[in-house]
């Protein structure tokens, strides 16, 4: 605390009074909305930035889909970028598109929208704190995303184009500039961008862990935390332990590229007629380091959504979450096992097959906590009174789709089956069911659910449901057939798969999928209009429009600086819907029990 006081006094010494008003206004505008240290503003900044990149990532995906449906035909909109080829997509542009679609979606959308946007906005509100433990660090975690935005964005315009070695950036394709056009400056910018995403995530996760441990309101024991907070907490732990490995690996690849260190390059490679001078390294080393982070990252990309979905389902089933503690232990179990399964990405990589077998067993077992969570969600709906609001529909879709994504994972965990389906569309189907049909559905549910808290107004329910219906139908039309393509062995990342005899007959199915993908992206216009229209013209929400239990619903909508206009004291967990102790069908965490002595005056707040 003392350091902050000194810091804020410092400028006062050097400042003359009597500056004009305009300057003061600009300064206050900047400090309120731009360089704000308020967790809510930072959360919303993350939300807007990531939604914008979501649009970019979606358009990149459409360009990929276009090529798969009608290879080498003129690409609408994107065509102008390929004027040199007469509007056709060049094959190197295709590999760049698949790489950048995945990189943008993972590093600039999913990870920051979950932890950055919702973690920031929800953690202090849901635990009853006035802000994060380290507000300045929090602000920096947002602003350190901007170099990443810049590097990723700029990489499209440098010579050779953006990175094109896949989002996994496997050496030696990625680490040797002659190997591919995208491995020139594009790959360097990609690595720099990745580093800044890492710095931002690390600052965020340190802050979240400290805040959740230190700043809970009186009465908010760990086992009274909403599952959203549990998920955010464990995600932060995962980030903190896994990220350093990725950052180190990224630097090693940078050094391979810039200084010729050769961590990942073996002796005697001749790449594109260039003899690589370095040697003594191994391409498999990168794969181990990369997946040591990126497998846990899969959970970083879904656990927070699982937490938020749990809160939404309990609220709209009007019933306590089924098996709260098993839910918490499952999250912890996923995180723990998540560190010893990375090798399942490497079953056919040339890694020792005995090692593969042990990774297989661990991978099989990690399906277990996910199964337990699914059963508990179903248990929560059982015997409830389900209200089909827009957030609930998205949350239910999460569960329904996660079942598919979870079950398809068992195929690839089985090593012999993985020999056949590895790097085919079966994998693409699997992770899109987990990350798009899962996490993105959860995120939409969360946006519709907490929007009234963020902006003080409700989003339109009717258009919300139209948005849900179209997205849900089109997403299944886009992604479900991928399972079947995978069963044929249809490989990923091929600019033109149809010159193979084996895959020629799959083109009509791909055209159908592309049409669904276009429909899916177009449906988002409804969401965008609803989002902005409601911000100004939506009905005023009030503090607790969903009649929910969490602490955030006792604060004003939107909450002012410092969040609560009273000192919240917590008497119970967040899921006491339909409790016989009260006549209402919900029971806020702050409502004193009926025959309780008046609570002690709030003096002991940290």
């Amino acid at each position: 605390m003392s350091s902050i006081t000194i810091g804020s006094q410092a400028p006062a010494h050097g400042h003359e009074h009597g500056h004009d008003q305009a300057h003061a206004h600009t300064a206050s505008f900047l400090s309120t909305y731009v360089f704000s240290k308020d967790h809510k503003v930072i959360g919303i900044q993350f939300l807007f930035s990531t939604l914008l990149w979501f649009l970019v990532g979606g358009l990149l995906a459409l360009a990929v889909r276009w090529q798969l449906a009608w290879p080498w035909s003129d690409v609408p909109l994107f065509g102008r970028l390929y004027a040199a080829e007469g509007g056709q997509m060049a094959p190197e542009a295709y590999t760049m598109l698949v790489t950048m679609h995945a990189s943008v979606m993972i590093f600039l959308v999913i990870i920051p929208i979950l932890a950055g946007a919702f973690g920031n906005f929800l953690i202090p509100l849901m635990i009853g704190a006035d802000d994060m433990a380290f507000p300045t660090l929090n602000m920096l975690s947002y602003w350190f995303m901007w170099p990443a935005f810049f590097f990723f964005g700029a990489s499209f315009f440098v010579e050779g184009g953006g990175a094109a070695a896949g989002w996994t950036s496997y050496p030696t394709l990625s680490s040797n500039p002659p190997a591919a056009p995208g491995s020139m400056s594009g790959q360097t910018l990609w690595l720099l961008g990745l580093t800044f995403v890492g710095i931002s995530s690390m600052m965020g996760s340190v802050n979240y862990m400290t805040t959740i441990i230190q700043m809970r309101a009186p009465g908010m024991s760990m086992f009274r935390l909403p599952l959203t907070i549990w998920a955010m907490f464990i995600t932060a732990v995962l980030q903190a332990f896994a990220l350093p490995v990725l950052t180190a690996a990224g630097f090693m690849q940078l050094m391979d590229r810039e200084l010729g260190t050769g961590f990942f390059t073996p002796e005697g490679s001749i790449i594109n007629n260039t003899i690589s001078t370095a040697g003594g390294g191994s391409p498999l080393l990168w794969q181990h380091l990369f997946w040591f982070y990126s497998h846990p990252a899969v959970y970083i990309m879904i656990l927070p959504a699982m937490g938020m979905v749990s809160d939404i389902i309990a609220c709209f089933a009007r019933k306590p979450i089924f098996g709260y503690k098993p839910m918490v232990y499952s999250i912890a179990g996923i995180a723990g096992l998540g560190f010893i399964v990375w090798g399942h990405h490497m079953f056919v990589s040339g890694m020792n097959p005995i090692l593969g077998a042990t990774f297989m067993v661990a991978t099989m077992m990690i399906a277990l906590p996910s199964a337990i969570k699914t059963f508990n969600w179903l248990g929560t709906i059982w015997g409830g009174k389900v209200q089909f609001t827009t957030p609930m529909l998205f949350a239910l879709a999460f569960v329904s789709m996660f079942i598919i994504g979870g079950l398809s994972g068992i195929f690839m965990a089985a090593t012999p089956v993985d020999i056949f389906i590895h790097d085919t569309y079966f994998i693409v189907a699997h992770f899109h069911y987990v990350l798009f049909a899962g996490t993105a559905m959860g995120v939409w549910g969360a946006i519709y659910f907490w929007y009234p808290k963020m902006f003080g107004r409700m989003m339109n329910e009717f258009w919300g449901k139209v948005h849900f219906f179209l997205t849900f139908v089109f997403l299944n039309g886009t992604f479900f057939p991928m399972h079947v393509l995978g069963a044929v062995g249809f490989p990923r990342r091929l600019a033109d798969p149809y010159h193979y005899e084996t895959f020629r007959h799959l083109q009509p199915m791909n055209q159908f999928m592309t049409l669904c993908a276009i429909g899916m992206v177009a449906s988002q216009i409804i969401f965008v209009v609803n989002f902005f229209y409601s911000m100004f013209f939506g009905p005023i929400a009030g503090r607790n429009p969903w009649r929910a239990n969490g602490l955030e619903w006792t604060a004003p909508s939107p909450p002012g600086h410092g969040n609560f206009d009273f000192q919240p004291i917590v008497y119970r967990g967040p899921y006491e819907y339909g409790s016989p102790e009260t006549t209402e069908d919900f029971y806020p965490q702050t409502q004193p029990p009926p025959d309780n002595a008046p609570p002690a005056p709030p003096g002991g707040h940290h």
Partner: protein, 259 residues
């Protein structure tokens, strides 16, 4: 509206099963298997498909039923105020755990056959992946790889039917993956490593060799062909190639050996 949404979620079940029922009929399914160990892999695929299919039907079905039954439009009873069930948690922990463990152990044999039990035979040929093609090398008359009489080919691989094939997989530049969809074979080619790959073809014919690991702009066109022939045709072809090759480079090779 509750009914409408419940049925939408039922459609996940109907559509999912429907897709998997129709796919084999329209030939969007596992390509014809022409290798011995492919049977084990396909068997395991079908086993997991059946098992996950049952779980899929059960969970999506239960979800539909709960949504249909407990929707607030029609369901007027008070909610069941429960925080869970200890015995249920134990049941649905132990049953999936046992099932998963069973799959894990059950598949070990197929995995070992495909990647661990390397046959004790000299390598039939060597495949070196490079941007963007497959360089293939057969031992010449001396039956040994790496000698002067080796036979070189590009993107064209011949193997005898009903005999174990052992090939050595290398890469000259970046990662590639040697994928034979019809043989259920896939192995990454890694610069700096020599990785053995084996299989036993059981039907003559011409099949695709696919590169399954992103290897640069030309990744999509890194296509090869594998021909499974009778032993007689294979020998004939190999000796033809040998003759062709020594006719072309014979003097050069002889010259080189004199140096």
């Amino acid at each position: 509206m509750g009914r409408f949404w419940s049925i939408l979620f039922l459609m996940v079940l109907v559509g999912g099963l429907g897709t998997f029922a129709v796919a084999p009929v329209i030939n969007h399914w596992l390509p014809k298997d022409v290798s011995e160990h492919g049977r084990a892999i396909d068997g395991l695929f079908y086993f997991i498909l059946g098992l996950t299919g049952v779980v899929f039907i059960a969970t999506e079905g239960v979800m539909f039923w709960f949504l249909w039954k407990y929707n607030s439009d029609s369901h007027s009873e008070p909610v069941k105020f429960t925080h869970g069930s200890h015995s249920l948690e134990i049941v649905w922990t132990i049953i999936p755990a046992a099932t998963l463990l069973f799959i894990a152990i059950y598949q070990m044999n197929a995995w070992a056959a495909a990647k661990m039990r390397k046959p004790e035979i000299p390598p039939t040929l060597e495949v070196t992946a490079h941007q963007f093609g497959w360089s293939i090398r057969y031992p010449g008359t001396d039956g040994e790889l790496g000698t002067k009489d080796d036979i070189y080919l590009e993107n064209e691989l011949h193997v005898p039917v009903d005999e174990e094939v052992l090939l050595e997989l290398k890469s000259a530049d970046v990662l590639h993956s040697f994928f034979l969809p019809n043989f259920r074979v896939k192995q990454d080619a890694v610069p700096g490593m020599k990785i053995p790959v084996w299989f036993r073809p059981k039907a003559e014919g011409k099949y695709d060799i696919v590169c399954a690991e992103l290897c640069g702009w030309g990744h999509y066109k890194m296509k090869g062909q594998i021909l499974v022939q009778s032993r007689r045709d294979f020998d004939l072809w190999l000796s033809q190639k040998f003759a062709e090759q020594s006719a072309v480079k014979g003097p050069a090779a002889a010259g080189a050996s004199e140096e």
